[in-house]
């Protein structure tokens, strides 16, 4: 385990740019390349947007805690919140081949998280809140 990076911010969309900078700093320190940095920034942005919009329902007084570190050949980021329980099973994935007339609007955020990261897992416990863990393999 190398140095870990930690950030706590309140649940406001205005903080997403700061979160992206934090992720870039941590990911570059771990040796991720430009494309990987873009991918993890986007996956984290989507995950944090979900927390702000769905776990906290837009309430700006909640908090998000981001921790990232390298474990072996993987870069791991966890995003914790203390809002409403989030059940990813309830989110329908978009059908990316659908024509415009049929194309639904939602579900894209989670779709990108799974596409851009190698592994995404969700955890919830009373007291410890929601925790999303996302992993990017290094050296690809």
């Amino acid at each position: 385990m190398t140095d870990s990076f930690f950030l706590r911010v309140e649940s406001r969309v205005e903080r997403l740019a700061e979160i992206a900078e934090f992720v870039e700093t941590a990911a570059r320190a771990a040796g991720l390349n430009d494309e990987q940095v873009y991918d993890v920034q986007m996956a984290v942005d989507e995950a944090c947007t979900n927390v702000i919009e769905h776990a906290y329902h837009g309430d700006p007084h909640g908090s998000l805690e981001l921790t990232c570190a390298t474990r072996g050949k993987e870069w791991v980021i966890t995003i914790r919140d203390f809002g409403a329980r989030f059940d990813p099973q309830k989110v329908k994935m978009p059908k990316t081949g659908d024509p415009l007339s049929k194309r639904r609007i939602g579900g894209l955020g989670i779709f990108f998280m799974h596409k851009l990261m190698d592994r995404v897992t969700y955890d919830f416990s009373e007291g410890a809140g929601n925790c999303v863990t996302m992993i990017k393999k290094l050296g690809k």
Binding site: E35, Y38, M42, D45, P99, R103, I105, G109
Partner: protein, 106 residues
């Protein structure tokens, strides 16, 4: 029908914080009669799913009015992200603003 081509060029990040502003601008233009819109991404570093949703809604609105919303000047990774979501099959995408504008003349 408004034959003028409207250019919208989002700056920097189009995320959950800035997408509502882009949405308001597009809605306002479309409500004012704009049916030919080009979104120029040359100054856009990043677009999240919130931004993509705004584009999809605006595309549908322009097509309902026999118009189109076209995209241009996307950075390579942004273009790949759009393709990942299947947006390359929904939108006409051009390398340059000039090409996007000319495509309306045909």
């Amino acid at each position: 029908m408004d034959q003028q081509i409207w250019i919208i060029a989002p700056q920097g990040r189009v995320d959950a914080a800035s997408a509502p502003g882009l949405e308001a601008e597009l809605k306002q233009r479309i409500a004012a009669g704009a049916t030919r819109i080009v979104v120029d991404f040359s100054a856009t570093r990043y677009i999240s799913s919130n931004g993509l949703r705004v584009l999809l809604v605006a595309l549908k609105a322009t097509q309902c009015r026999d118009g189109a919303l076209k995209l241009c000047a996307l950075a390579p990774r942004l273009r790949e992200i759009l393709a990942l979501a299947g947006f390359d099959r929904l939108f006409e995408i051009f390398d340059t603003r000039a090409q996007a504008e000319q495509s309306f003349e045909k």
